[in-house]
Amino acid sequence: DTAVSQTPKYLVTQMGNDKSIKCEQNLGHDTMYWYKQDSKKFLKIMFSYNNKELIINETVPNRFSPKSPDKAHLNLHINSLELGDSAVYFCASSLSGTGNTEAFFGQGTRLTVV
């Protein structure tokens, strides 16, 4: 009964490769996010989708392309991986609207680029 699940949990790959991370939520939320957490634990939003529509797109290299096939899924594809992309990537989901729209996070995908 996992709420927000990401796969894979660990990903080790070489520079220049293309990789994807998948995320699914079963909470009935309409908004999903990708966050990046660097080695110093700083958590920064990358993208947000509401009902499959991109609503937040922070300053992220265009090698990163999110895709939301439906409101329960948000995948992240990364082209031409670089050493600096090594980080933990978290998927999250919430309901839209104001107020206490708690964001639920997945377990994270630890990406290591060698």
């Binding site: 634990k41 958590l43 947000s48 377990q107």
Partner: protein, 111 residues
């Protein structure tokens, strides 16, 4: 100036001590203030949520928001080893759900 400042220095306290954490911010449009707790190799989970200025208490945890000073705090009373985690402050405006996070404080409670 970063939107949210949180001194990331690790904090070690003996069991039973009071832990005090704080964040400052620059965006006066922030209205919703949160504290997330993140255990090692896990995702963050919401610990406390406060709307606008004021205090909120939940068991051993107290969150305070002072919007006039753009300053928020989290206090943990009677700290336990199970409180050892990274604590991240987060905040958002009312316009969307974009959360701005602080850098996080790693707290270690020593038995």
């Amino acid at each position: 100036q970063k939107e949210v400042e949180q001194d990331p220095g690790p904090l070690s306290v003996p069991e039973g001590a009071i832990v005090s954490l704080n964040c400052t911010y620059s965006n006066s449009a922030f209205q919703y203030f949160m504290w997330y707790r993140q255990y090692s190799r896990k995702g963050p989970e919401l610990l406390m949520y406060t709307y606008s200025s004021g205090n909120k208490e939940d068991g051993r945890f107290t969150a305070q928001v002072d919007k006039s000073s753009k300053y928020i705090s989290l206090f943990i009373r009677d700290s336990q080893p199970s409180d050892s985690a990274t604590y991240l402050c987060a905040m958002k405006t009312g316009g969307n759900n974009r959360l701005a996070f602080g850098k996080g404080n790693q707290v270690v409670v020593i038995p």
